[in-house]
């Protein structure tokens, strides 16, 4: 087994004292920001991007991966005790988890979610280690046309298929494209969308975009609805040690959740919403305690979705590491960290940056172990973090937002852009536009453009490359089905159901 050899080497990279410290720092920070409402992994990693100028790639990716995994663990604590899902991925956890906490079984809910996250995270990370080399073999056959088509597919799934409206999702994505194109065109050196200013020649930094949308936008949103229902923290009750019956009811949902979450995360669609909702529906159907769902809270309804969430988070790393295809805002920002090191994620990454990739994967296993310790015996610490009052929390977030943005070039223009994007982020929250496609569009858009132009240059300006190459055609067809399929389906359903009723009126 070649993979096991690589993995062993990865552990030798990850097990150095310094890298273990980075992992510990990342997981601790990740849990903290996961617990705190208003802060997420995408924002945190964006704020920490300057670290890429200071330390080796291994160290910063171990840190980022720890934050990424840690936020998943921390987010479930908030969902269970506060009923405010910090992220869309933990909405489902709040459904049953908060009910369990209210009926005095918060301890068991936290335990099954932490241990379930560990089990599924470990399975998912194993999946990354074994699937990545397979995807690489497949991806080596990709030319620029195929890459472009694959990116189109990812754009459609990320913005149009997931989420509540394909028009709003695509609007966010296109806004991201525009932001991504600002600055000097790398192939011809022409400035684009700079409105004649010098400040925009370098483009809009992803830090500014992420901080504006996620930190400033979120703060304005919270301020605008200060009086809209205060959340109460449910005091932690119930033993953190699960009873035999609770173990018995948890282990199958963990495995099923992992089996649902990883493949969906690993597809170029990503997103944790679909696997968590799917897992919830399945557990509800299979449970012998259906009466607990929606009433006192069923442990299966926490165990399954939490496992699915963590496994899909691991799955997202597969297209990111092997194809350079980020399918979540966090993955997109990690991709820009790669770019900051001058590393291009893609099929060659596993061979050219073996130390980095396998060290990263090994550190994910270690992160899972650290996280289960941080989140069970030390849960009391995190509960205390939940008590930070909103005024100081959001004011503090803005201070860090200023440091992160103003530090880039000490230009007040950056702050103006930050605030404009914050206002946009506020409107997007109020009017139900997803924000992740903006970040994905701004990072992946320029890469898609590069592949597009490369393909067109090779074909001497002949557009047919995109549909004469079989693989490319397949990917574009899938993208088209993803975009149009649901609408056509709804139209047919509408006709089928409404059709006969209309006949008398029409006649």
């Amino acid at each position: 087994m070649e993979t096991l050899g690589h993995l062993a080497h990865g552990f030798s990279v990850a097990f150095t004292p310094v890298n273990l410290l980075w992992c510990l720092l990342g997981t601790t920070l990740g849990t903290a920001i996961g617990v705190l409402p208003g802060l997420g992994p995408a924002l945190t990693i964006a704020l920490l991007l300057p670290i890429t100028y200071q330390v080796a790639p291994e160290a910063s990716f171990i840190l980022f991966a720890g934050i990424y995994y840690g936020a998943m663990y921390g987010g479930s604590t908030t969902s269970i005790l506060l009923n405010t899902p910090g992220e869309s991925a933990t909405i489902v956890t709040a459904l049953e988890g908060n009910r369990m906490a209210r009926s005095g079984r918060g301890g068991a809910a936290l335990a099954t979610s932490a241990i379930g996250s560990f089990v599924a995270g470990t399975i998912g990370t194993m999946g990354v280690a074994f699937l990545a080399p397979v995807v690489v073999k497949f991806a080596l056959a990709f030319g620029p046309a195929e890459y472009f088509s694959l990116m189109v597919l990812a754009f459609i799934t990320v913005s149009a298929v997931l989420g509540s409206s394909s028009v709003r999702g695509l609007t966010s994505l296109f806004a991201g494209f525009v932001i991504g194109m600002i600055g000097v065109d790398l192939q011809t050196g022409q400035p684009r969308f700079t409105f004649g200013t010098n400040e925009l020649l370098d483009g809009v930094d992803v830090i500014i975009a992420a901080v504006g949308l996620f930190a400033v936008g979120e703060t304005l949103y919270m301020a605008s609805r200060r009086y809209a229902g205060k959340d109460e923290i449910v005091p932690l009750k119930g033993s953190l040690y699960m009873t035999a019956a609770e173990w018995g009811r948890s282990w199958k949902p963990w495995l099923r959740g992992a089996a649902i979450g990883f493949p969906i995360g690993a597809m170029p669609a990503g997103g944790a919403e679909i696997p968590t909702f799917l897992s919830y529906a399945i557990e509800k159907k299979l449970s012998k305690h259906k009466e607990e769902f929606g009433t006192v809270g069923a442990i299966e309804g926490v165990a399954g979705p939490e496992a699915a969430n963590n496994a899909s988070a691991a799955g997202v790393l597969v297209p990111m590491l092997t194809l350079g295809l980020p399918t979540s805002a966090t993955a997109a920002i990690m991709l820009s960290a790669f770019q900051s090191y001058g590393i291009n994620p893609g099929p060659l990454l596993l061979t050219t940056q073996g130390d980095l990739v396998w060290g990263l994967i090994a550190s994910l296993f270690i992160a899972n172990v650290i996280l289960v310790i941080l989140n069970l015996p030390l849960i009391g610490l995190w509960v205390r973090l939940l008590k930070i009052p909103a005024p100081q929390l959001y004011a503090g977030i803005l201070v860090f937002a200023t440091v992160g943005t103003y530090g880039i070039s000490q230009s007040p223009i950056d702050l103006v852009i930050l605030y404009l994007l914050g206002a946009a982020g506020f409107l997007m929250r109020r009017f139900d536009f997803p924000t992740a496609p903006v970040i994905i569009g701004m990072i992946l858009g320029p890469l898609a453009e590069t592949q597009f132009r490369r393909a067109m240059t090779i074909s001497n300006g002949d557009w047919s490359v995109f549909y004469t190459h079989k693989l490319s055609l397949t990917l574009l067809t899938l993208a088209f089905i993803g975009l149009a399929g649901p609408h056509i389906w709804a139209f047919i359903e509408h006709r089928r159901r409404r059709g006969p009723e209309h006949v008398p009126g029409d006649a």
């Binding site: 300057p50 670290i51 100028y53 200071q54 409206s165 028009v167 695509l170 609007t171 296109f174 806004a175 494209f177 525009v178 194109m181 065109d185 192939q187 011809t188 022409q190 400035p191 684009r192 969308f193 700079t194 409105f195 400033v216 703060t219 304005l220 919270m222 301020a223 605008s224 609805r225 200060r226 009086y227 809209a228 009052p389 005024p391 100081q392 959001y394 004011a395 503090g396 803005l398 201070v399 860090f400 200023t402 440091v403 103003y406 530090g407 000490q410 007040p412 702050l415 103006v416 605030y419 914050g422 109020r430 009017f431 139900d432 453009e449 597009f452 132009r453 067109m456 001497n460 300006g461």
Partner: protein, 178 residues
Amino acid sequence: MSTSDPQAAAPRLAMPELLIGVGLLACAGAVAWQTLAIPVSPLYSKVGPTVFPYITMTGMIVLSLLLILAALRGGWQPEEEKETPTDWKAMGIVVIGLVANLVLIQPLGFTAASVIMFVLVCYGFGSKRTLRDAVLGLILALAAYFGFARALGVNIGAGFIENQLNTVIDAFITVLRG
């Protein structure tokens, strides 16, 4: 389906959503204007730097028209958001805090500007203990400043407070190194 379907309950025009749609159309216009401003070398006439901007512009026009259509049909804002009244006063104070930070960061330096922003934002969110907030803000701003400036090597605008502290710390380090 036509927009003037007499059978459907008369769809109410949703003003905020309409403004968003029109605003996006204006953005598409700005994209078109900026795309026309990109000088194209004849060498790159096939796939030059303008092809993607044009694709993006077309997409934005189509999407903004679809959004305007949705706004004419009654909009899409979720009920929960519609029912929540906007707390303009709280938001206004937070915005004042942000603007104060923007205006003061160059003359006063990062720490002082941050403390003022911190206090204003806390006040906007309903905190009444201004003095305590100022102390908290100072501690946090200094932690953030020294965390980023000295540990991450990011150069943040230094003002009077930072310069004094930097001098003290540098002197301290020199003494330690003996």
